[in-house]
Symmetry: C2
Subunit: 231 residues, 2 copies
């Protein structure tokens, strides 16, 4: 990791290893922030996305990358943390119909709460999160309305907030399509080959899970090749 | 732990091992809820409060007690998770003046987020938390205004919330003095000898830290003996 550049204000960036959060972190860097990358080892199905998160944090010159562990398998409740099968071969329209079994109860709320704790410790005023809801409206915790409510709660529930230094939740992708995200990441020089979107953790993306299907649609509509599928 | 009683609706009760959260959980039980006790092993100074939490959950007949681990020492920021000294010998008036060094950034936000995740998984509609702010106004995340903002955020950010089954945050002690809390716990038959309030983890309470001083004041004003100091 690079040395801390004091001229750049710190921002906590949630980096999952996927394409969206990597693009959000690249946007944070392009806006002049020093990146403090935060990832979670929460009992998800595979570790491959954590390896991707490490590679992304390093490629973006993060000042620090913390992987915080906790075990959501203690109570289950999602296909991503239990034995339930991940859906396969669904169209984006089908995905948007219901909240999917891959929904993890309160996951982004937990992630943002830890980001808030770190931000307060760092005296950072910004948290970047790569949520977006246009392509895929099934997750309630990916909507701007929720993020504004989180900000208001954080302003009332933290020392920084009550002392007049509230933390802002930056979700630069929230209204972007997957194709827009691919274009923006490419414009910022992000190496998509470092990212991992597949819900499974195989050698290559399965190309059947919701996440693979949305990613493929994004690259196709952006007219760009996905380096993960090359060769 | 006792068998689950299906006639009692589930409630997630945050149980720290201290007097306040034990009383809040006893109130939940007295209101007819089945207790799902949740504690955290987050890198606090001592484990004694986790032993207390286990004993309290068992004494209240909790259906389940989960101790969720994560390590807030990864970024420090509080006397309770780092090497900073805990204040000693302060009056309640002094304590109320500033946010204390024992403030852990976003701690209750993180705790409530996990409680929310478990509540959603259990289809529980209630979370009990033992915060109170009259005696000790220094913690921003112990105020009713914050708790209402958390509820609004949770209603927007969870599947249960957007589907019309929002979770309610019950803070029955929020406007009670420590003496009121002691009286209420006693009325409900709570064994205060199982609870642990001291910020240090010695054989006996230090009687000098903020938490010991507030506890002593509460028992004194309630006109009851503290079983931890007997014998």
């Amino acid at each position: 990791m690079s040395a801390v550049d004091v001229s750049r204000p710190p921002a906590v960036c949630l980096v999952s290893g996927g394409l969206d959060s990597a693009t959000a972190a690249a946007i944070a860097r392009s806006r002049g922030f020093e990146i403090y990358a935060l990832s979670f080892d929460y009992g998800q199905r595979h570790r491959r996305e954590l390896d991707a998160a490490r590679a992304i944090a390093e490629s973006l010159g993060a000042a620090q990358h913390v992987v915080l562990g906790f075990d959501l398998r203690l109570w289950g409740g999602s296909a991503l943390t239990s034995g339930i099968d991940v859906p396969s071969g669904r169209s984006p329209e089908d995905m948007a119909r219901d909240i999917p079994v891959t929904y993890v109860p309160a996951r982004n709320i937990i992630f943002l709460s830890f980001a808030l704790a770190w931000a307060e410790t760092l005296e950072a005023r910004h948290i970047f999160i790569g949520v977006n809801h246009l392509d895929y409206s099934g997750y309630p915790d990916c909507r701007g309305e929720f993020l504004r409510a989180f900000e208001r709660m954080a302003a009332l529930g933290t020392k920084a907030g009550v002392e007049g230094r509230p933390v802002s939740i930056e979700a630069p992708l929230v209204h972007m399509s997957k194709a827009d995200i691919v274009r923006e990441g490419a414009r910022l020089g992000l190496d998509f080959g470092l990212t991992w979107s597949c819900y499974l953790g195989g050698e290559r993306p399965c190309q059947q899970c919701d996440s693979c299907i949305l990613r493929a649609k994004g690259f196709e509509e952006a007219g760009l090749p996905d380096p993960l599928l090359a060769g």
